[in-house]
Symmetry: C2
């Protein structure tokens, strides 16, 4: 580990927003030379793979401003400060789909873009969903539509690139491996 180490000599916060903090660090490289690193700080996020008792996967479609188009994704949300990822997962599942489960099952976690961002994604599986009578309201500026798809339908969405993001593509591949076992 030490041989790769980059030492920070100066750090400047460029922007401190609601979702991201942007920071530019001056670093000393292992060979003594210097470079700059652009860093996006993010609180981390959860994604939930919700599977109904009828074996359908619940997705949400929403507009993604960075892409200027809508995507079909598994429900997801940003971690609140100090919040356990499994708590975030349950909250987002209920807010976005109107379903709940007793215990979401942790599958894996990964950094989404380790070259420039520290965002960690925690993935959960939520099986045997139960409808919530009075689901909590989601974020005021979030407009979503719910879709329930079979795994085959979801794979077709991947081919059509209507499903086209890391956590959701991973989720589909994960469900495929479950089917084969």
């Amino acid at each position: 580990m030490k041989k790769f180490m980059e030492t920070t000599t100066q750090s400047e916060t460029i922007y401190d927003g609601r979702i991201v903090k942007v920071q530019v660090d001056d670093v000393m490289l292992p060979d003594g030379k210097t470079s700059k690193r652009e860093l996006i700080k993010h609180a981390g996020a959860v994604g939930i793979i919700p599977v109904t008792k009828a074996n359908k996967i619940v997705f949400v479609e929403q507009f993604r401003k960075p892409l200027e188009k809508s995507l079909v994704e598994i429900p997801a949300g940003k971690l609140e400060k100090g919040e356990e990822p499994s708590v975030t997962a349950l909250r987002e599942l209920e807010e976005e789909t109107g379903y709940t489960v007793n215990t979401p099952r942790f599958i894996t976690s990964f950094y989404t873009s380790p070259g420039f961002a520290d965002e960690m994604m925690y993935l959960y599986l939520a099986e045997d969903l139960e409808p919530v009578d009075y689901p909590a309201a989601g974020d005021e500026d979030e407009f979503i539509e719910i879709l329930e798809l079979t795994l085959d339908e979801a794979k077709q969405y991947v081919r059509e690139q209507r499903i086209h993001d890391a956590k959701t593509n991973y989720a589909i591949l994960y469900l495929e491996t479950l089917e084969r076992m």
Copy 2:
């Protein structure tokens, strides 16, 4: 699609760096209310899954400043302007591992973090690797170490979170599904 649409009313560039451009847009939501969107613009990237003739997977370990630690990842790199992803894939494979192939096979693509970034990741499989006699030099500020692992060893790295990023976790899961077919 239209029902989700967010209309940009103003756009401000906060930072224009070497890797990312940071932009904050004022948007009008579908219900007529307004909000702000923080957007990270990125040129896109490729990841290559290199598999040797001895059926080992070639990884690179490098320090990731946003995480302040090193990760073991499949070789990857940023798209140069106007560059075909398959060309980037071959270049990065050669620079980072000293191997090459005739034709890298496209597997899939996905947005890494569609909530705040437009980075697209293109994934390729490179089988039957051939060593390059005089590999091209990589980036001056990149210090990497090469590891050749079996799939089982790589899965152990995932469990230990030494492999811990979206493209590499996806790659391991993908290779697992190939093994079962």
